[in-house]
């Protein structure tokens, strides 16, 4: 006998997400994920000056606005004919701005979005400068936002718990510093203003560069000394999460951080390479033409009759209406995100990812294939953060004192363009159609649309749904296993946009021709 559980809202994500589970004998047999907010950004973009897309699309998401600024600018560069003429300095500064947000996101995600599922805020004994403030807080009657919470599976002994808690608090500062890094070249954060079509609008000077590097060093220390240690600790105490939450086991990345300024975005050399891979860890190049979108469940339900003939149509239809939204590659669901990027780079033996993955996995005595799991996603984020923070130093050093920062262009009468990049959560694509120098059509496919996508027309669940099915839930009142899996994907629903699983139309009479 199956029991239905609904978790709404899911917190510690971005946006509004609901998960519905059917549980039989303590195991999830079916899962449905739904985004619960529609704002209509693409409708709002229509008829505007194309250059405004860069700023407006950042407001799709306040946690990853930079990803949209990057993809949007690339899309506009393409449409304006300057895709291959972005000045070197601009390419480097764009990378610095964009990578700062990825680094920020790794820290935010591990500590402030994920860790409360494992770490017990109330398990604090020592009154030391790092956690003494928490001891005081625990004397309060009201303990929001840390209580209420899901109970029953906190495993860290008190000293380790305290260390994690003190790093949770330190990480609040570190992520702020990562945003300051971004603001050095991006103006402000969230919703920065440094990247424009054609390049960047800012000229760095030595004062700014030292401001940037000083913060890089601070964050780098934290990532190397604390962040990785804490991820290792998590893996040690929750090892079964190396087996849980594998998902669809197919991975896709558009790639990010251009290392060269010419060529098709999906083919040019990038720090995170583009491509696809799966559990066999063989790399294949990505062909943009194989991206399709699947239709969703039921839109119509109705009876149809031939004039004068008693024929009827099926009462309930599986297929949905047109204009849909679950992206599929070669018709299959693919996961995007830090795990996808890490595995794709690893499969391609791309350095420096390959060596760091090998060394980290050796450190924890786990095979690279086990990365396809909840823990694998957390490990991938930590690996990415470390690699990117080092890379920002090389990019900064490469900035030249003289040179252009923006390529000149004319706003075209009519054009089309596409931009591909990576948000922290995964592949993001922007497409534009310009007519009469205005946006005629603008489309965004964001990472959470890949990861949180519902069942397609063949009944195949999306990556998140697949990762939930088969999970053992020990306590239905506190479904921590489910929440840990969901959060490992770092859902960002403002980007993902909508549920498409509603019956709106009821057909009462229909003639068949």
């Amino acid at each position: 006998m199956s029991k239905k559980i609904v978790i709404d809202p899911i917190t510690r994500i971005e946006g509004h997400l609901k998960v519905e589970l059917h549980i039989e004998n303590g195991v999830v047999v079916d899962a449905k994920s739904s985004g619960l907010l529609f704002r209509g950004l693409e409708t709002i973009l229509k008829n505007r000056d194309p250059r405004d897309a860069n700023q407006i699309t950042q407001r799709v998401c306040g946690v990853c606005p930079q990803a949209h600024a990057s993809a949007s600018s690339m899309c506009l560069d393409d449409a304006f004919g300057v895709r291959d003429s972005i000045p070197e300095n601009a390419r480097l500064i764009r990378n610095l701005i964009h990578s700062s947000n990825h680094i920020h996101n790794s820290i935010l995600h591990f500590y402030h979005l994920a860790l409360l599922d494992y770490m017990d805020v109330t398990n604090v004994k020592t009154d030391n400068p790092q956690v003494g403030i928490v001891l005081n807080f625990l004397k309060r009657e009201e303990k929001g936002p840390f209580i209420p919470r899901e109970e029953g599976d906190f495993r860290f002994p008190v000293e380790i718990n305290q260390r994690l808690l003190s790093n949770y608090l330190k990480a609040l500062d570190m992520r702020r510093v990562a945003h300051e890094m971004l603001a050095v070249f991006g103006g402000k954060m969230p919703h920065s203003c440094g990247i424009v079509p054609g390049g960047v609008n800012t000229r760095p000077d030595s004062g700014r560069i030292s401001n940037f590097l000083g913060r890089v060093l601070e964050v780098r220390d934290f990532i190397k000394n604390d962040y990785w240690e804490d991820v290792k600790t998590l893996v040690k105490f929750y090892p079964e999460y190396l087996e849980i939450g594998a998902g669809c086991k197919k991975f896709l990345a558009f790639g990010a951080f251009d290392l060269e300024g010419k060529g098709d975005y999906l083919e040019r050399k990038r720090f995170h390479p583009s491509g696809i891979t799966d559990e066999k860890l063989q790399w294949e190049p990505l062909n943009g033409k194989n991206i399709t979108e699947s239709v969703h469940s039921s839109w119509y339900e109705g009876k149809t009759t031939y004039p004068g003939d008693g024929q009827t149509c099926p009462k309930r239809v599986k297929d949905g209406y047109s204009w849909i939204k679950s992206p599929r590659y070669n018709g299959r669901a693919y996961e995007v995100g830090p795990l996808a990027r890490t595995l794709i780079a690893y499969a391609r033996k791309s350095e420096p990812v390959y060596s760091l993955v090998e060394s980290r996995m050796k450190e924890i005595s786990v095979d690279a294939k086990k990365l396809i799991s909840v823990m694998g996603r957390h490990i991938s984020r930590a690996i990415e953060a470390q690699l990117l923070i080092e890379e920002t130093i090389s990019w900064t050093k490469a900035i030249k004192e003289t040179g252009d920062y923006v390529a000149a262009y004319q706003l075209p009468e009519e054009s089309t363009g596409a931009g591909f990049s990576e948000a922290a959560r995964g592949a993001v694509g922007h497409w534009i159609k310009i007519k009469n120098r205005k946006i005629q059509n603008y489309q965004i496919i964001s990472p959470s649309t890949w990861n949180m996508s519902p069942k397609d027309e063949n009944g195949n669940p999306g990556p998140l749904e697949q990762s939930l099915i088969g999970t053992k839930v020990r306590n239905e009142e506190n479904p921590v296993e489910v929440l840990r899996i969901v959060r490992s994907f770092d859902p960002c629903l403002a980007c993902a946009v909508h549920i498409l699983d509603r019956k709106n139309l009821t057909v009462k009479n229909c003639i068949l021709i």
Binding site: D8, P9, T11, R12, E14, H16, L36, L37, F38, R39, G40, T43, I44, R48, D49, R51, D52, Q55, R59, C61, G62, V63, P65, H112, L113, L116, I133, F137, R140, E142, K143, G144, P145, F146, I147, P148, L169, L172, R176, H179, E180, L182, A183, V184, G186, G187, K188, P190, H191, C193, G194, V196, G199, N201, T202, R203, N211, D404, V406, A494
Partner: protein, 283 residues
Amino acid sequence: METKNYPVIWFQAAGCTGCSVSILNTSSFKVKHLLLDELVPGKYLSFQFQPTIMAGSGEKVINVLKRAVDAEKEKYILIVEGALPFGENGTYGTIGEDNGREIPMVERFESLARNCFAVVALGDCSSFGGIPGACPNPTGIKSVEQSLKDFNIDKPFINIPGCPPHPDWLIGTVTTLILGQMPLLDDLHRPKEFYGGVIHDNCPRRGDFDAGRFARSFGEEGCLYLLGCKGHFAYADCPTRQWNSGINWCIKNGAPCLACVEPDFPDGACPFYEKLKDFPKIG
């Protein structure tokens, strides 16, 4: 000394979470102290509901909202992030279920606003409609002010617009509130302390404007008016306070101001990179 608790319900509606992220960037008052310590001696905020960082999920946290309107009636500060979508009977945005029915955000907002001590509309979306309320407003967005009027709810409310708002603007305002005072507000219900001066008047590039030195393309020195700067009708203290711990801000970075604190953002400033044609005496 006895300490007093000020409960905070931080309600996220049709927004992008940028306001939450911005507040997390506070440096004049560190986040850990904001969450765990006293804001002023003897008084602290308790963030009972804040979806981006709170521990619990699902029904547990919906019960926190229900408890607030009951047991914490007239005591909690309601912070609203994101605009309120009224289109299609409110089904463009829902949060939580009651007896299997998905509850529209606007419905939750109504009960929370009716029973709170004061409402703070955080960000341009909740203050004025913002991005989701931009033409053609596909989801029937209304601002907090308009929603309170339509629901016939008479509560003190303050707008802290900005896309996103600066963390100091929120924290400074809330501090004033818990000290038992209402901040001095302008005609748009924005605290004059932060929104009293127009950016143009305090801009470091004002000298260039006055002397007729204009940047013609990005990266150049000079006033950014010709590149679309809308700083002459944006009321905010960005030039002096600056952003992200004072490290930079839009115009300093070479980017024209988008007037993201104003009621007609973004439409009033679009196209962002074209100068305003009807500004007298210029260009």
